[in-house]
Every structure is written in C-alpha cells, then in structure tokens.
C-alpha cells in the first residue's frame, strides 16, 4: 500500500517543523527520508504512525485517510532508533507481542517467529532479555517485532544509527532483502547518505521541514538540484557563474566565483534554464573531477584549471583532495590506487562538459512530462 501525505503542517510551540509537506510513496517502494537533525524526519514518521497529530493536512495509507485514527488502528510497523524493546519481556515475547495483541493462536505464533528467528540467525537468543543482547541483535528483534504482524507499511526511524559499521552492512543487506521479499512499503529515516544510497529506491531530502528534492539515489547524489542538497550529499563544489554563450548542445559559462583571482571559462552541457547573461550556480560532484600533473594531458576532459593541492585525507578506498584554483577551492575524490600526488603539488584539475550541472531547484532528468525547469515553465506560460 502506498502512503500519501497531503499538505502536512506541524508546529511545536509556534515553531513550524513541517511546512505544507506533500509526499507520495509508491506501493512496495523503499523510500528514504534523508536530512540533518531537526529537519522534521522523525516528525513525519510519527505523524504517519499517529503518534503525533498534525495541525493540518491528511495522511493516506492505501486509499484510506487515517488522519483521525489512533496508532493501533493504522496497521503500521515502526522500528525505533533506540529499538524500544520491552525490557521486561524475553526476545521471543517481544517479537510475539503484536501477534498476541491480535490474539493469534500459540502454534501459529511459534511457527511464524521460528521462520524469522532462523532468517536473521537469533534462535539461540530467544529466551534472553533485551539487556543481554548486542546492538545488532536488538535491531533484528525490533525489526522482526514490527514485521511479524505483517503491517501495511513499515516505518523506520534511524534504526542503524547506534550500530558499528560491520553490523550496519549486514543488517542493511538483511533489511533490503526482507523488504524486497515482502514488498512492504517502507519509509526509512536517516541522516546518513551511505544508508540512503544502499537502501532507497527513492530518496527525499528534507531541509527545515520541507522536501528539497525527491529522486533516485544516483540522480540525487550526482545531480543535486539545490545548494543544500548538494552540500548535504557531499557535492561541495558549487561555482557561481554566468552564461556567456549558448550553442546547440553546449554552453560557455564564465566562472566568477567569490575570491577567485582570475575568472575563467568553462564549456558545459546546455540546460533548458540557461539564458545568455544569466547568473547560475553550477555543481560538480567531487568524483567527476580528475587530477593530472602539469606536463600531462587531461584526457578527454574539455575543462582544465590549474591548481595546488592544499589538503588531502585518506578514507580507506579513496583520497579526498582540496585544490586551490586561483583563490577558489575545489574538492575531488580520487580512487586511492591511482592517486600519487603530494601536498602543495601543482596539478591540472579537469572535468568533462557534462560534469557541471545547474542548481536550479528543479528536476530536469525526469521523464519529459515531469520536467519543471523554469525555462520550460516560462515557455508554457507564453
């Protein structure tokens, strides 16, 4: 069953937390709500669950408007950030709780739980109490407790934020495969972009109670449409520029970023919002930047800027590099095995014409019918 939020408004003590928020989650979709602390993610889940009442707007699960229903009547499963296991009950009793509420027969409870206990490998822990479990085991119990009642939708509030990296990876795999098996519509809240990429069919980025962008993870990470989204997903290279020439498939822009000693030209892919003389913000994902030595060619990349490496950090598989290009800082992520530069070394920073894209706030890679580029909208009006 799909979930629809219509014009949801919620304030706490006069401070708006959600501002006329509208969201549609498709049946069977794994939808991730991504955003920083205080952006309203948990409030959205609580409103869907009925744990918090919205000031305005409607919540639909399937075709049913559940806005006036209490949590127990909404048919949802909820996995809490702190697991919220019943501390006085054993693992088995925790997982059986929802089934007992529904007065399911004892042998059916055992049968159903037996399957899930085996599925996530915690049969031996079934008689233990929550305080005797590891974080990963608690997480599995909380997940199964929510799943066994076969809810219409599953809501998860940062369920992996307290886990170590290894447990996270394992549980994410289990979670994704269980969700795909059951086809349960899932909304997953996180502030971690890696989790969003790993799990989400679509990702909504929240900022101050409003959705900035809804997109598939790949689109979101490589083509963020607002400065906030770009910065939040790690695409820190945002260049202020103006369009100086528009060709058939490409355009030439003049980068005149604050602090830049000498403005320079870039050849970029043409976008519908481009207008000659118009100021734009261009975003370049750090992974789309290549570095070459002074005497090396830049491959097929049409854009080249000279810079000096001023900072580098190694995060295991890749090296994050900061390059000063005449007063403006650019960030690149280079695979570790091909990175052999030193700090303070002069390098060519190069990237293809389709690497930069405008932060117009609208999606332009969606199917034509859903394109909402400003330029097109203007044309429609005309």
């Amino acid at each position: 069953m799909g979930i629809v939020l219509k014009d949801i408004l919620k304030s706490y003590n006069g401070r708006p937390v959600l501002k006329d928020l509208t969201l549609e989650v498709n049946t069977g979709e794994f939808h991730v709500l991504l955003g920083p602390s205080g952006s309203g993610k948990t409030t959205i889940l609580s409103i869907i669950a009925g744990l918090v009442r919205q000031d305005k707007g409607d919540v639909l699960i399937g075709d049913r408007n559940v806005s006036g229903l209490p949590p127990e009547k909404r048919g949802i499963g909820f996995v809490f950030q702190d697991y919220a296991l019943f501390p006085h009950l054993t693992v088995f009793d925790n997982m059986a709780y929802g089934l007992r509420v529904k007065k399911v027969e004892k042998n059916k409870i055992s049968q159903r739980l037996g399957y899930y206990l085996g599925r996530v490998g915690i049969e031996r822990e079934k008689d233990k109490f929550p305080h005797q479990l590891s974080g990963g085991q608690k997480q599995r119990v909380a997940l199964i407790r929510a799943l066994v009642t076969e809810p219409k939708v599953l809501l998860m509030d940062e369920p992996m934020s307290n886990l170590d990296a290894l447990s996270k990876e394992t549980i994410a795999d289990e979670l994704k495969s269980i969700q795909q098996e059951t086809g349960m519509t899932t909304i997953y809240v996180t502030h971690n972009q890696d989790e969003a990429v790993l799990l989400g069919d679509r990702v909504s980025v929240l900022n101050h109670g409003a959705i900035e962008q809804i997109e598939s993870p790949d689109e979101l990470f490589y083509h963020p449409k607002t400065e906030f989204v770009a910065r939040f997903v790690g695409a820190k290279n945002i260049l202020k520029a103006s369009v100086i020439e528009i060709k058939e498939h490409e355009a030439v822009v003049l980068v005149d970023h604050e602090g830049l000693n000498q403005p320079f030209k870039l050849q970029v892919k043409k976008y519908p919002i481009f207008e000659k003389g118009k100021g734009i913000n261009l975003c370049i994902h750090p992974e789309k930047i290549s570095l070459n030595r002074e005497n090396e060619a830049g491959g097929n990349n049409v854009n080249r800027v000279m810079g000096k490496i001023i900072h580098k950090t190694n995060n295991g598989k890749a090296v994050k590099v900061t390059i000063n290009t005449g007063g403006m800082e650019l960030h690149a992520v280079i695979p570790k095995d091909i990175f052999d530069f030193e700090i303070h070394e002069n390098v060519w920073v190069s990237f293809a014409a389709d690497a930069p894209h405008p932060l117009c706030g609208k999606t332009c890679r969606a199917p034509y019918a859903r394109r909402r580029c400003l330029n097109e909208m203007r044309n429609e009006r005309l």
Binding site: L51, G75, F78, D82, Y97
Partner: protein, 263 residues
C-alpha cells in the same frame, strides 16, 4: 590527604546520623524484657490495637493503589490544564501537619457538615469508626504511593509505550502489559511507604476516629493512651512491635528490589 579528611568528616556525620536512629531503638529494646513482652502480647487490648492497625492499613494500601496509580499515570504521562494544581494537591498532605488534616476531615465528615449529615441520613457514620481511620490514614499516606509510582512511570522510555501502540495494542492493553510491569518496583516501593505511613499514623487518626479501645484504637493511638495513663510496659511492647515490623518490611522490600535491579 585532603581527600582522606573529607571522607573522615563525612563518615563522622554519618556516624552521628546512625546514633540518632539507633540510640532510641536501643533504649526502647532495653526498656523491657522478653517475659514482659510475651505477657503484653497476650493482652486483648494490645492484640486488638494490632489487628485494627493491620486491617485498616492494608485496606488503605489497596485504596491507595486504586486511586494513586491513575493520578500518578496522569501526572507522569499527560499534559493537561491544572496539572500543577493536581501535583500540588498530591504534595499537600505530606506538608500539612496530620492534626490539621485530621481536623479538616473531622469538620468535613462531622454531623454539622453537608457531607457528614448527608452520609448520616443514609446511615453511614465515618467519624469515630474504622472507616474514619481508613480515610485519615489514606489522606496522609497516599502521596507516597503517587510520588513513587509517578517517578516509575516517568522513567519508562516513551518509545516503549509508542512501540506497543504501533503493534496494535490499545491504551489499556499497553497500560496493563507494559506500563504496570515496568513500573512494578516503583509501585511496590510506594506501597511499602504507604503501608508504613498508614501504620504509623497518629494525629489525623486520633482526631477523626478518637481513641475507643477495641473499636478505633490503633497501635499508635494505643501507645499514646498507655503512656498518658502510665502504662509504659504495654506502650513499649506495641512500639517494639511497630519498629520491628517497619524494619522488616523495609528490609525485605529493599533486598528484593536490589535483586531485581541486578537482574
């Protein structure tokens, strides 16, 4: 060196405290003999006072559970208008001198008040009866149960309650199967304190129920009466019984509570 002096000073103060509690106990225990105690406990007046005290205080604990748990639940889990007033009302009997509480109850339940005269018309007389003792004991002791239960409810993770609701449980099912079991220790602590307070209640009880031997004379009232009439041995016997009872009650509860925390 400074740390050692500090600890020593603290220990000395603790020693003074222990003396303050222990010396009167020792004085009480050394003021009589085993033979004398046995004799006193054969006296029907003493036994009657013990039975009345136990009977009324146990009923008070049950009533306190029925009235106190809902009040504690509201104070701990809900936000509503007048919450501060309700909270203050809970504290009032603790800060009010029992004699004042007794006087207020006497005026309310006496024949001259509307409540008293209405009840009297239906043949219910609360003054100078066991019912009066129960009301007086309940008035002064129920705050202990409410406060302890409230703290217990407040210490429960809110998400645990929410989890129960999202699993399809009603509020009542959640209350019965999640909140009450998790607040069990706090409720038990409140029951023990309420029972001990009800057993030891004197001021309000004597005002409302008087001191009628074999009818309204509780252990504490009997102690007072016996001392006033010069019968020190029987008052010592009852006082010792009360002391041993309270000490055993608290010790049993504390050891049980500690075991559960360790679990």
């Amino acid at each position: 060196m400074k740390g050692v002096s500090f600890d020593l000073a603290m220990s000395l103060m603790a020693g003074v405290f222990v003396s303050l509690i222990m010396l009167p106990m020792i004085a009480l225990f050394s003021a009589t003999s085993v033979g004398e105690l046995v004799n006193q406990f054969r006296s029907t007046a003493v036994l009657s006072a013990v039975v009345i005290s136990l009977e009324t205080s146990l009923i008070v604990v049950l009533l306190a559970l029925c009235l106190g748990i809902p009040v504690a639940y509201l104070l701990a889990m809900k936000e509503f208008r007048g919450k501060e007033i309700l909270d203050t009302l809970v504290d009032l009997p603790v800060s009010m001198p029992p004699l004042v509480a007794g006087l207020a109850l006497l005026i309310l339940l006496g024949q001259n008040s509307i409540v008293g005269s209405t009840l009297s018309n239906y043949g219910i007389s609360l003054i100078f009866s066991k019912k009066g003792i129960i009301i007086a004991q309940l008035f002064v002791s129920i705050p202990f149960l409410i406060k302890s239960t409230r703290v217990a409810f407040e210490s429960i993770n809110k998400n645990v309650t929410s989890a129960s609701l999202t699993l399809g449980a009603s509020k009542f099912y959640t209350f019965k199967n999640v909140l009450l079991p998790l607040a069990k220790n706090g409720i038990c602590a409140g029951m023990v304190m309420t029972w001990a307070r009800a057993l030891g209640e004197f001021g309000a009880t004597s005002m409302v129920a008087g001191c009628i031997p074999f009818r309204t004379e509780t252990m504490t009232v009997a102690i007072y009466q016996d001392v006033m009439s010069g019968e020190l041995t029987s008052s010592i016997a009852i006082a010792l019984l009360l002391t041993v009872f309270s000490f055993t009650l608290l010790l049993t509860f504390k050891s049980r509570f500690k075991r559960q925390i360790l679990l």
